[in-house]
């Protein structure tokens, strides 16, 4: 799926292809709970979520949104080239939100013979509210 991307083809400031997903459905929380094993009812039970202060009910697993950011990354860069991926969970995602993942290259360097690129990533909803900010590093093949 991901085309081969060479170190020489990537420049600081380049944008990662944008990924738009949504509107997200409550059903996806149930699927994600089962797949991941995170059965915190905050994500699947509206009554529970309201009782712990979420006035609109359930919120998405943060890790589901991180997974969507991961989808955007390995839709662009080969999975095997990824070296690091880290995020900060900045906001809650609700059913009905549409998530847009963006990213851009902030650094590139040769380190111990590896051609490393560093990218910032973010996930926002349709109102521009930030759900995740993060960063990844990949070691890309070289044409040389």
């Amino acid at each position: 799926m991901a085309q081969e991307i060479y170190y020489e083809d990537v420049n600081v400031g380049d944008a990662m292809p944008e990924l738009v997903k949504g509107p997200l459905q409550k059903l996806q929380h149930v699927m994600y709970a089962g797949a991941s094993g995170d059965f915190n009812p905050l994500h699947t039970d509206d009554d529970f979520a309201k009782a712990v202060g979420m006035k609109d009910g359930v919120i998405a697993h943060g890790m589901l949104i991180m997974g969507i950011v991961g989808q955007a990354i390995t839709g662009w860069i080969h999975r095997k080239d990824l070296k690091k991926f880290g995020v900060r969970f900045a906001g809650m995602t609700k059913p009905g939100n549409t998530i847009t993942v963006t990213g851009s290259v902030t650094d590139k360097r040769v380190e111990d013979g590896n051609n490393i690129i560093v990218c910032d990533v973010a996930a926002k909803d349709e109102n521009g509210d930030v759900k995740i900010t993060g960063k990844f590093e990949a070691a890309l093949p070289s044409k040389a």
Binding site: I68, K83, K84
Partner: protein, 149 residues
Amino acid sequence: MADLSKVGTEYSPITWEVERGKIRELAKAIGDPNPIYLDKDAAVAEGYEDTPASLTFLTVPMMWSDKMPAVINDLKINFMMVLHGEEEYEYYQSIYPGDVITGTPKVTKMEEKTSKSGSKMDMVTMEVLYTNQRGEKVAKARSLLVERK
């Protein structure tokens, strides 16, 4: 309230056999159509031995092994008040179906912080270094949990 004296605690290891169906199930739950996670032939065509674990797969052994709730209980964190603050992975090599990975969760940092609004929170950092059945390092996971007080 988190028991801050528990910093440095190591828990019993998680041992987890990676299954192709679970890799595919997680990709489908995320809605990731990338065929390398769904179909062995497609993965092999792209240079993998089999369907590789996706970037966030290591949440599966952590949650399905019941380790995370056990650690949260041991740290005296109120499960109802805990938020996931950060998650970070370092990848050393691919994880494939049939691999048996083992990781020892370790609490590396615990501190109380005060938010801008003045409310207090306990910040707990946990790290798990995973090795495979050949004793090779495959990945490290770092999680930051935030307990609202």
